[in-house]
Symmetry: C2
Subunit: 135 residues, 2 copies
DNA sequence: CCTTGACTTGAATCGCGCTTCAAGTCGCAG
DNA sequence: CTGCGACTTGAAGCGCGATTCAAGTCAAGG
């Protein structure tokens, strides 16, 4: 356990993130090094969990700022809990959209219309509820 | 049917996109006006379907360039079909990630740990298979 | 001690997807 | 014909999420 701390390069390697990204996240308050070895940042291993979470949230469409807010959440922060619930609902919609898109793509990879746009099945997948605008 | 064509403002209104976005998409080859009325672009009504598709694809994470490529796809373009299949598989993963994220958020909105990061249930939701790196 | 080479910093740059802006052009009502 | 106002253009700007760069600093090894 004398080697408990990870060098930034180590963290970069294991997390799959660039060192520059780690510094970027630090500047944004998402992570913090445990200390330094000379100038070199060193991290506690559990930063890897945090980074996994961050990556996941990023690819789920959260902005870095949002993630930062979530990461400092305490149980008393009902405001933030509400925001989380909202986000969960938004994710629901995103999932539905992605699912439609996936099905559309699957069909598109198989159907035989001149161009995608002419495939009625494909189009049907995107009766997007963007702006109903009846008239 | 003498009024078959839509003015750009009309299209913007019905599609929920800004006129500037329409011009932007045109520059990128995603859409084309049917003609002009003076300087004013006019569109065939079916451009709305196309725009719905585009919006959907955008929110599904496709870049404008990708969408452009998909839109000109012909049945013979096996390359592109392959790419679509790949995209469909990627979407699958995205959906899985979003689902995990949603579940994590739902839990987070309810659980009672000091900070999110300390909630083992929450963390468990993100055993991200980013970089396994066994040793 | 002096080199090596991986890190450090802040600032600049990039790619994407638009939006905004200044300046110009048109159709149409009066 | 005149003026209004909604459009046109190309170019510049913006927000985000990083990456890249130049210049500096450090620990360890020869």
């Amino acid at each position: 356990m004398t080697e408990a701390l990870l060098d930034i390069a180590e963290v970069a390697g294991r997390s799959g993130l660039a060192p520059s990204a780690l510094r970027f996240y630090e500047k944004k308050g998402l992570i913090a090094p445990a200390g330094r070895n000379g100038l070199r940042r060193t991290y506690r291993p559990d930063v890897l969990d945090r980074l996994a979470l961050i990556s996941c949230a990023r690819t789920a469409g959260f902005t870095v700022a949002e993630i930062g807010r979530f990461l400092v959440a305490t149980p008393g922060d009902t405001d933030l809990r509400a925001r989380m619930a909202v986000k969960a609902r938004e994710l629901e919609e995103d999932i539905a959209r992605l699912t439609r898109m996936r099905d559309g793509l699957r069909h598109a990879a198989a159907c035989a219309h001149e161009t995608l746009v002419e495939c009625p099945d494909f189009k049907r997948a995107f009766a997007a509820p963007a702006q109903p605008v009846p008239r």
